[in-house]
Symmetry: C2
Subunit: 152 residues, 2 copies
């Protein structure tokens, strides 16, 4: 069985466990996400599907993304510009993001010291840590020459 098919099977099981149905739209959306390593917004996914002659409504993309997020297939991230981004979560261990303010490029990072400090700090406040957001905003290597000219 291919990796792709095993993911579809896993999705099918997830749906069945919730009394949901496996539809061609849901499969197409999941396959599109599995085929991408990017951090995309809803319309990026919609247009990617359309470029492959797959017509799905925007509402269905949003609805499916919600199911995929709950099932652990995608990660929904808010980078503060008013639009959520979705990334294929399956092959990835936990990580946080550096976000370029110029080009929107996203660099993933993890740091065990930071992870450990978070646990330590929340314990100090008797706060039960569920999840975290750690985003470093700045200018990526490629954008620094252009940004310098603009006085950033």
């Amino acid at each position: 069985m291919t990796i792709k098919n095993s993911n579809i099977e896993h999705f099918k099981d997830t749906l069945q466990a919730e009394g949901l149905r496996l539809t061609s739209q849901r499969i197409a959306i999941l396959e599109d996400i599995l085929a991408s390593e990017e951090h995309r917004e809803c319309d990026d996914i919609l247009f990617s599907l359309r470029s492959n002659q797959i017509s799905v409504s925007r509402a269905t993309v949003y609805r499916t993304l919600e199911i995929l997020e709950k099932g652990g297939f995608v990660r929904k991230m808010n980078i503060g510009d008013g639009r959520f981004r979705y990334e294929n979560k399956l092959p990835k261990p936990h990580h946080d993001h550096m976000i370029c303010l110029e080009c929107g490029r996203i660099i993933e990072f993890v740091d065990q010291e930071i992870e450990a400090r978070q646990v330590h700090l929340t314990k100090q406040h008797n706060f039960k840590l569920v999840r975290h957001i750690h985003q470093l905003f700045g200018i990526c290597e490629d954008c620094q020459p252009a940004a310098a000219n603009k006085g950033v």
Copy 2:
């Protein structure tokens, strides 16, 4: 001169430097923010003003918050629920936030090790760090008994 008046003077200077005018609405909004230690959304500030018989339009609150943010008087924060929060930034050193998923309570924290790691990590990627968001979501001490009953 009182601390409050020195802040108003500072605000006046900031406005003048930009060719902006000192209006009663702007003063009222700044004073309301200076009097609060909370992380409030636009309407909280609007209703706080109204409870003091000060009538200002929502558009003016948004416009003034933008000026105050640029001038370093307030910090605008996105906690991921679709509404921005604004906090009085003047008396505060840099800090990040723990956010209770049950009651919305916000606990401030700083950790020099984390700050140092951020600098180290961005340097590794030749990324010019401008600002960061670090939010720890979970259940605060007060909400843990209730949350445990709901199976969180």
